[in-house]
Amino acid sequence: MALHASHRLMFADLSRMSAASQAERTVLEEEFKWLLKEEVHAVLKQLQDILKEASRRFSMPSSGLESQVKQENFILGSSTMDQVKGVLTLQGEALTQADINIKMAKSNQVLHFTFRDDKQWKIQQIQDARNHVNQALQLLASRDEAYHFKTGAQVNKLMDAVMLQLTRARSRLTTPATMTLPELASSGLMKMFTPPMPGDVMVNFYINLSKLCLTVYQLHALQPNTAKNIKPAGSSVLHNPGAVFELNSTKFEVSHVQKVECVVPWLNDTLVFFSISLQLCQQLKDKISVFSSYWNYRPF
């Protein structure tokens, strides 16, 4: 009985609502048209401007003319406390020069390494982020003022595609690749240096957020019949002292880990641009969704 009463109440409520919503509906439709015709393009223009600015930061080499990309030096580990010091030269996405001093924990002796002249190290994270931004820009390129959006779904689809690229671009910089220690040991990076890296030192370069990071692992070989329980460490960005791994049937243990880093200002800019762009996209989607939930709202 109570149920019936509440039903009646609800239907009365509804009829009142549908009358009111008729006028409201026309206003909403007008507003939605404005949204598709004006607002969407304004947002897209703004997005394009921001992303072009972001793309410019990556200073993409125009096929072959790499000499035009400017070189920047970064000093990692400037404090006197640091056991590791490095001067790295970044040219776009590549580390062209490196000058690393490592104070060995065992001997207290300082080792000095530089990149071989014929080698440079491409930082894949930067190249990937740059390519993702350019893909986002390509998606936006063909949707200028001349393009008429007819439905909210078209805008949503475009936003989804752009946001996917931007999320990828950002996450490439914010989440460095995880590697196992044997992967790191056999990586091409170990063969880049002169004098060659000794077998008990490993280095790794990566980007974390806007920082260029250098990690140095000092190892010591374990006795073959050591009682230590060998449970190989999995993939990680940064391994802890005590991690154990096996390479060419020799077991190693990480004895010391040093990490030094330096902020790359232009990477910080790009991260800010990515975040702003993502928010712009989401806000546009949210605006569209307000209308589409109104359209769905039909009295039964």
């Binding site: 109570a2 149920l3 509440s6 039903h7 609800m10 509804l14 993409m60 080499p61 096929s63 072959g64 790499e66 491409k122 894949q124 190249q127 990937d128 390519n131 993702h132 350019n134 390509q138 390129a141 063909s142 001349a146 007819k150 439905t151 779904a153 078209q154 949503n156 689809k157 475009l158 595609a161 946001m163 996917l164 999320t167 990828r168 950002r170 996450s171 914010t174 989440t175 460095p176 690749a177 974390n208 957020l209 960005v237 993502l278 928010q279 989401q282 969704s289 939930s293 769905n296 709202y297 039909r298 039964f300």
Partner: protein
Amino acid sequence: MICLVRTCSNSLYSSTENMSGNSLVLPIVLWGRNAPTHCISSLLVMDDLATIITGCHDGQICLWDMTADLEISPRGLLFGHTSSITCLSKASAGSDKLYIVSASESGEMCLWDVSDGRCIEFTKLACAHTGIQFYQFTVGTQREGRLLCNGHYPEILVVDATSLEVLYSLVSKISPDWISSMSVIRSHRTQEDTVVAVSVTGILKVWIITADVSRMQDTEPVFEEESKPIYCQGCQSISFCTFTQLSLLVVCSKYWRVFDAGDYSLLCSVPSENDQAWTGGDFIAADKVIIWTEDGCSYIYKLPASCLPASEHFRSDIGKTAEGSVPPLVYSIADRPDKQLLICPPVTRFFYGRREPFHKLLVQGDSGGRLSLWSIPDTSPLQPLSTTAELQVSSTISLQEAFDKLTPLPAGIIDQLSVTPGSEEPIKVTASVYIPSQGRLVCGREDGSIVLVPATQTAIVQLLQGEHMLRRGWPPHRTLRGHRNKVTCLLYPHQVSPRYDQRSLVSGGVDFSVIVWDIFTGEMKHIFCVHGGEITQLLVPPENCSTRVQHCVCSVASDHSVGLLSLRERKCIMLASRHLFPIQVIKWRPCDDYLVVGCSDGSVYVWQMDTGALDRCVMGITAVEILNACDEAAMTRRSLAALKNMAQHKLQTLATNLLASDNADKGNLPKYSHNSLVVQAMKTNLTDPDMHVLFFDVEAVIIQLLTEEAQRPNPTLVSPETLQKSQGSADKGGSFLAGKLFKQVKETIKENIKEHLLDEDEEEEEEQRRREEKSKSLSLLEYNLTMDTAKLFMSCLHAWGLNATLDEVCLSRLGMLKPHCPISFGLLSRGGHMSLMLPTFKESMFRLMAAGQVHVAGGRKMSASEIVGKGTYGVSRAVTTQHLLSVISLANTLMGMTNATFVGEHMKKAPARPPRPGTPEIAKKTPPQVSNPAMQGQIKQGWSQLAAMHCVMLPDLLGLDKFRPPLLEMLARRVAGPLP
């Protein structure tokens, strides 16, 4: 006492668990009238031009059959990818195996059998592939199938086409970068396989794959032979001229260019007109290319003489900038008017049939799930070249059109209850939850109402013909009204955890409200209005949360807010609403009293549940680590939230649970997985209405039948000996295969019997407990769930129309019902992959029959009912195997039971219960007295005939050309399988 019941029921479950290790689960789909959204993102035509494959933005793959006359009809949908399909490629060369490989935006790669949609192999990489090409490299005297992959990484990965393992990679020494597009060619001159690719920065790279390289197993990289800047940025596609092998077409968005395939010098360059963006192209003859645009138009150009190796002017323009001159247009293929409504650019591809009938096909797939085909003629039009001829579309169909053409229209799970007077269209089901303990399905609809209905009975109405068709408002149901608009999610918390009241049902709507219902009285208990957006998810917090939180449900809304709604206190105890991006995932850290919210942009918010304070908000590695830590903690106890989420693309979990293959936490799996029937609502796209998949666990059906049989007053009939005897006759006539089948079935049944005979006493207590629960609860019509399930399943599986006498026995004596139309079955494969037949799958079979000069019964047309059941045995060997195993093992089980007919009084209630006064009568005529021994004998004979027909006579009845024999290795696996 209760404690005892618990433990013994657990032992039953864990023993069935062992068997379900390779259990037989058959899906049946009720698609409903709305075809799933299929926004095409990639497409492929198989070499024999008999199948087209399309991948969509939501991750499904559609198989379309194509006849020699270019008629197309969709056949099946493949599920398993979790994100947009980025590329498709064939993965086998011969005509005996038809394999394809698909890749998705999230780095997944799957190998599928096109004939039945089985997933053969799958793998996942960290980066997404955007292009895959199948190529057979010569290794010694053999040809090895390899997949060359490029994507969001700077190498070309060479992958084994059967194991999907990365064998080696092609690497650049000079300015390595992502590869936009690539092509493989076997040079006539050098007899070497050559891979040519263009990087995103416009540098052309050449790798030579020698026999030594192909043989390589280690991951030593292969460096490029040549690296040449060709200044083609934003390259969309590259393709060699297959006719001469002397030129290369490169399409970029603003121009297309032809290069000499020998030294890669530029032969001609053509800019795009009117701001059009080119998205691809190919050679259609030695002197003609077809180029298509982003908005779906295509143009066929005749190449200038400087590009034609046969011409004396070949290479005459090298060095001169030919930019600006547009070669003569032969044909244009314009867009249709309805292209306006497309929500994203269509996908266009050109395919050249390598076998009869040698069609040159332009294929386009669009966001509306539409495929269009143009057959490209070899001759130029007769008109003067000044007026460009427009090529007419040869064939076009969308998924929805294919659905609309069917009579009867594809059934939805509660269509008969949803057609309002004066309207053709049934009200769409927008959210569903199945309550297995009651066999009841709860459907929320677009008008805000919620319908509770017995699942098997509503499925019987939709799938099978019978008296029920005449009844209005059948089956008995209850409607809950309260939401003002679309119901977006439903949750039955008691199913997840017994700590919740079994009366409570929670629903969320587009009207921002969350409503708590008493399902037994239909009363609305409470309305929560705390969110500022439509409700998108309803979840249950894990066991070890604080007592206060344990009586809450968690609601997520589209305004990016999360609430903890206490069902006990009837108030919202926490609302977390500062998220900038839509909420993707909710995780828990009960020991720290944390609610962890993962947003679509990768950010993670950690909320204190007690105080509602934001503990922290993080991004990057920390965010990933926090989410992973929650997963690890949750691994020890599986929350049913996972099963709830399934509706949103989490099919993975579902199939793993159903198959219960190698789960570490098997013992803690919800009761769910042991039910003979699970109804799972799915939608491929959030905007779609629900479609429903009925998962039948054949072994569970058998166990339940035997359990109920054992509870009968007179259980003497069931013993392995009697079973063996009754099988004797069939065994003698059976082939090797039949023998194996029987052996398997016997073993299974023996095991079942052993188990439940051991557990018998406790079983009864369990039954007692269940009955007590039921008598409290049920206010709707009572019915025998197990027998109903068996009836539905057997009626769907039986090959109707092959033996008229047997059909009559099935209908009248065994009480089976004929299907209205072909049943859409599915096939589960490992790793949570699944293929489902579309309701239109028979269309192509009709055509095949018509084309194959098979005169059925003297050339008369076959009626729909005649081909209703036969088809599934002609689909594929894997399907045949599963269906035969199911039908024969069930028939054998039923043979050994008393009263094993689906007509009569006993169908209305659970066994051994006195008839309740006041239950509506189903059948008017008095049913035959089933306890009569002669009658019993006839029923047994009926089942034995049914088993014999499927076991022995099927190949003869269907004709060998239409029968796909079962896979012996699949049978062998089951026979040798780890039985307890």
